[in-house]
């Protein structure tokens, strides 16, 4: 089993170039441009192979996330501009991405963007997945006024990773990154 925390491998023999992790870590999510791929936990590993190729490992948030192609292109482009001509962006499917990998900085930036960050992700055990018939019990504080008196409007939002909620205190609707 791989380590669950994102790793960054030190560079060596590339004096004068930027740290490729630092370059890759500046690339932002196309849908949430205030967050970087590192904030989201999508960026799993950046390393320089012996032949100088920068290998970047990313993991999709949702299987069908249409932003993956753009992320890949943005990573290649950013590293090219930083002076790394050979870049190989690889997809890592396992372990599957979880919202628990969104960093503290990422959570803060979500709130600043008016989006409620996810709570702890549900724990998946090996057996059958139990059915949940009652209304969702998720809670999320309003990112605008801080009230915890909020309700879910829809389990699905404008992107695969978000649900739609409303604050009962300030009446504003807001998005919530769903726990997975």
């Amino acid at each position: 089993m791989r380590a669950v925390a994102a790793r960054r491998n030190g560079r060596s023999g590339h004096i004068g170039r930027e740290d490729p992790w630092e370059v890759a870590a500046t690339v932002t999510d196309p849908e949430l441009p205030t967050l970087t791929l590192a904030d989201l936990g999508v960026l799993r590993d950046v390393r320089i192979e012996d032949d100088g190729t920068v290998v970047v490992e990313i993991t999709p948030t949702y299987t069908g996330c249409p932003a993956m192609g753009v992320m890949r292109a943005d990573l290649v482009h950013a590293l090219h501009r930083a002076g790394f001509p050979d870049v190989d962006v690889r997809t890592v499917l396992s372990p599957a991405w979880t919202t628990d990998w969104i960093t503290a900085a990422g959570r803060r930036k979500l709130v600043e963007a008016g989006i409620a960050p996810p709570g702890a992700a549900p724990v998946r055990s090996p057996g059958p997945v139990p059915l949940r018939l009652d209304a969702t019990r998720r809670t999320a504080a309003c990112p605008l006024c801080g009230s915890s008196d909020t309700e879910e409007l829809s389990e699905f939002g404008a992107t695969a990773c978000k649900a739609l909620r409303r604050c009962r205190s300030c009446s504003e609707p807001f998005e919530h990154v769903k726990e997975i």
Binding site: P30, E57, P60, Y62, T63, G64, C65, P66, M68, G69, V70, R72, A73, D74, V76, H77, A78, D88, V89, R90, T91, V92, L93, S94, P95, A96, W97, R124, P126, G127, P128, V129, L131, R132, L133, A135, L153, S154, E155, F156, G157, A158, A160, L164, K178, I180
Partner: protein, 303 residues
């Protein structure tokens, strides 16, 4: 990138400036960098065929669900259905790419040009008789209640398979399944809660939900009978025997229908698998006509 170039220019750049083809723009190999070695003792043809079964179910159901866009009863539900379809499309992309990675492409390569990636060749350039999806996912949507019953049944069946597939000896299938379980759980529970609202709602919604259940239950007949490919791959520790998921599926469905105050229709007698062997009704060909029309008429189109 930002102000210097658009996303599309960046994508073009990443593709060597060779321009986009309409069905591939930005959608590079979803398995890029994934180790696609076939596990020892597994026939690649079987593995590919199995990936088509799981991938085609997802592709066909995604296409059916998107027919609700602009027609769902409320805006939030339209967004929900589109999201469910998108998750399934993502699963289909990985599974079709996995089939392509082991060389299972059927006759699609006779029709698709060289530049078209395997997953797109499989999605757009196979005829109905080469699809391995079940009748459950190909059936027309019917009304909203029937669509919800079908989504409940299809996601319950798929979740039961994927939950077991997490232990597959094929690491690609195991990884797709582990990710898919999170998504499918969300779909199943969403459909189940809708069915409670409909079944235990007004007389009209109850009537429609019951009619939907009666119509969809008939399509359960061949879902739990394994094909030879599934038998061999289950033996090899790669696939899941659908027969082993039947009791779990039945228990979940009965639980939901009873809570929804619906009568549980009689479980149909088992029938040999048809869709898995490429035998389909006219509704699949009709669906594929819409899905594939543009790609086939303009196979190298760009936009």
């Amino acid at each position: 990138m930002g102000h210097e170039e658009t996303v599309y220019e960046a994508l073009d750049h990443a593709h060597g400036g060779e321009g986009h083809w309409a069905f591939g723009t930005g959608f590079d190999d979803p398995l890029a960098g994934v180790d696609t070695t076939v596990p020892d003792g597994v026939d690649p043809a079987d593995l590919g065929e199995y990936c088509l079964m799981l991938g085609d179910d997802a592709l066909v159901l995604a296409q059916r669900l998107t027919q609700w866009i602009t027609a769902a009863p409320e805006l939030e539900e339209e967004v929900a259905i589109a999201n469910v379809a998108l998750d399934l499309l993502g699963q289909a992309r990985l599974l079709l790419a996995r089939a392509g990675s082991v060389g299972v492409l059927g006759r699609s390569r006779e029709k698709a040009t060289e530049s078209i990636p395997d997953e797109d060749a499989l999605a757009y350039f196979r005829d109905a008789d080469e699809f391995r999806s079940t009748a459950l996912v190909a059936a027309p949507n019917g009304d909203f209640a029937q669509t919800i019953v079908r989504l409940l049944v299809a996601s319950t069946v798929r979740l039961a398979v994927f939950a077991r597939l997490r232990e597959s000896r094929d690491p690609v299938l195991a990884a797709i399944a582990a990710k898919g379980v999170n998504e499918l759980t969300y779909h199943r529970d969403h459909a189940a809660r809708w069915l409670l609202r409909l079944g235990d709602g007004t007389d009209e919604s109850h009537r429609r939900a019951q009619a939907g259940a009666d119509a969809i239950w008939r399509l359960l007949d061949d879902l739990f009978v394994p094909t030879d490919v599934e038998r061999r791959l289950t033996e090899a520790g790669v696939a899941v025997d659908p027969a082993g998921t039947r009791d779990e599926v039945r228990s979940v469905l009965v639980q939901v229908l009873e809570r929804a105050t619906l009568r549980v229709p009689g479980w149909p007698a088992e029938a040999p698998p048809r869709g898995r062997l490429g035998q389909h009704g006219p509704e699949l060909a009709e669906l594929l006509g819409v899905l594939q029309g543009l790609a086939r008429q303009h196979p190298a189109a760009t936009w």
